[in-house]
Symmetry: C2
Subunit: 201 residues, 2 copies
């Protein structure tokens, strides 16, 4: 797989979505000095391309997987142990998504958790994970800041975009919404987890 | 079931733990003007004592149940809808516990979520729900304040006590810990969900 567009070769933020790890490695080699590299994977590659996947892990900053994939990859049922196993193999950040049960982000020295937004009607969960990845990468690419505080907010942006994605079929909701809806939902997320004496308005 | 001790009749905070709703109602009648009444229940009573349980719900401020019980009671698979169903039948606060996936608290105008603390070793989950209830009621009884901010913090205290309970068999861990350990874990909870630009130390 060749990266044709010159702009793609110069991408600062690279998300290697779920394909054969050999192709992910091939794409990665063609991009010149990206500042941020994240990847996804799935059960099929974990089983059939394990050594390539481990090679890829050495070269990415972030692994984004769901809880089942994290457990399968690491052979650890406990997610804290699974995250540590992954962190020892390359990535500085491991995001473990649990669908309706929210998402963890682990670093070697911290854990962050963002709930999934509690929706009354989930129309179609297809694409929630990719929408999460889009919100996550988009926030980091836009701000250009790669400290932990920004990664935490990236997880919340990811959860926000995932929550919109499931409200309608396909990407219908994502093309409807604008910055105002996104800001409102971010505020809802803030209220959802706030437990200081003074609650946010 | 008679409440014998005079002090019990005068209790300001009453937690009606999981027994036959007829007995819960009987106990409730014997307590003089409690400020706060919460109750728990289970699948067996939801099925066999439904009308008594609905009678009880009219008279409690808080229902604390797990997600399975909330769904069974309300016949709603969606927890937001299940919570609304319950809120329309008496309680001002509905706490829905999801075990390792955390706990929601719903009011008619808000939702709060507290994750379960991510532990590397869960020794024995028995008693986590009752420890949660103890932390929750204990915090409210101690502070004496019954506004939403305090209820939210009560959920976090509940999650904290539940997280200690599962670290050892039975109540062993609960008798070991003191205020310092509890404060440390509350700080860990704060860091776990923080996503503002300035992260707490």
């Amino acid at each position: 797989m060749a990266v044709h567009a010159e702009s793609a070769n110069l991408a600062k933020s690279l998300f290697l979505a779920n394909i054969d790890p050999r192709l992910q490695l091939d794409v990665l080699r063609q991009v010149e000095s990206p500042r941020l590299v994240a990847c996804d994977t799935m059960n099929f590659w974990i089983e059939s391309r394990r050594s390539d996947l481990l090679e890829l892990l050495k070269r990415v900053d972030v692994l984004l997987v769901n809880d089942g994939e994290a457990r399968q990859l690491t052979e650890q049922s406990n997610l804290v142990k699974a995250a540590r196993w992954i962190l020892e193999r390359g990535p500085k950040f491991v995001v473990i998504k649990k669908g309706e049960h929210g998402a963890f982000m682990f670093t070697s020295s911290s854990v962050f958790f963002a709930p999934a937004f509690p929706l009354e009607d989930v129309f179609d969960p297809t694409g929630a994970g990719d929408s999460f990845a889009g919100g996550f990468m988009g926030y980091l690419a836009r701000t250009g800041k790669l400290d932990e505080a920004h990664f935490r907010r990236a997880v919340v942006y990811g959860s926000t975009m995932g929550s919109f994605a499931v409200e309608r079929f396909s990407f219908q909701r994502l093309i409807e919404i604008g910055q105002a809806e996104i800001r409102d939902r971010l505020d809802d997320f803030r209220r959802l987890v706030a437990f200081e004496e003074e609650l946010p308005a």
